[in-house]
């Protein structure tokens, strides 16, 4: 699948505009495994898109070690409804936490895989551009050598 058009040209060419990497795109033939995609998307929300979704440094920071409370043995007679309500609440929270973490890791893995492909395409583009530029400059140099500067 082809992504889209190239860089946006500024109207006035006299002042060089800072190059925004965001606008540069290159065709990347990347089709993630639909099963993997499903594992990385939340059903209620938009499908995860590895092309758009970036992960900030904040998100990549290693998980802080939550100090786990020491296991205190509770005799059966004290395990009243309140206790079980608390246990259920905590179990649900723990499950949500594990699921969120798994989802995040899957998303990062897919995006990393996409970036590998994109980088490979980008490197090819750089090589092609350098080659083309080299040819032009070479011809220009030969011309100028013979006929003086343009």
């Amino acid at each position: 699948s082809y992504v889209s058009v190239g860089q946006i040209l500024p109207a006035n060419r006299n002042t060089p505009s800072p190059i925004d990497p965001e606008t540069i795109q290159v065709p990347v033939g990347y089709e993630p495994d639909p099963a993997d995609l499903a594992l990385s998307s939340i059903p209620g929300q938009e499908m995860f898109d590895p092309r758009k979704r970036k992960f900030s440094e904040e998100e990549l920071k290693p998980q802080p070690m939550i100090k786990k409370a020491r296991k205190v043995f509770i005799p059966d007679d004290l395990k009243d409804d309140k206790y079980w309500a608390r246990r259920r609440k905590n179990n649900m929270a723990a499950k949500r936490s594990r699921d969120a973490r798994r989802l995040k890791e899957n998303q990062i893995a897919i995006r990393a895989s996409f970036l590998e492909k994109e980088n490979s395409a980008l490197r090819q583009e750089v090589a092609d551009l350098r080659k083309e530029l080299g040819k032009c400059k070479n011809v220009l140099a030969k011309y100028e050598a013979r006929h003086g500067p343009l």
Partner: protein
Amino acid sequence: VFQNHEEDDRKVRRREKNRVAAQRSRKKQTQKADKLHEEYESLEQENTSLKREIGKLTDEMKHLSEVLKDHEKICPLLHCTMNFVTIPRPDALASCLPR
């Protein structure tokens, strides 16, 4: 009574084994995630730098193309009929050189 102690002993040993195994497993998971994050970050950086370079090179090409286009208008040599689109064809300018 002896057997009960045996059983307790076994339970304790099993629990300790499981604790250690769980600890090892968690550590493995964290290490795997950290490695992935590191690789990911390096890919993002490379990606940005490559895009920047492409931008720079494309700019240079466009500039060259413009220069050549301007030259086309005033080139004193008869053979210099250069027809450009965006990428200047080296052969156009080359036609101004002796074969």
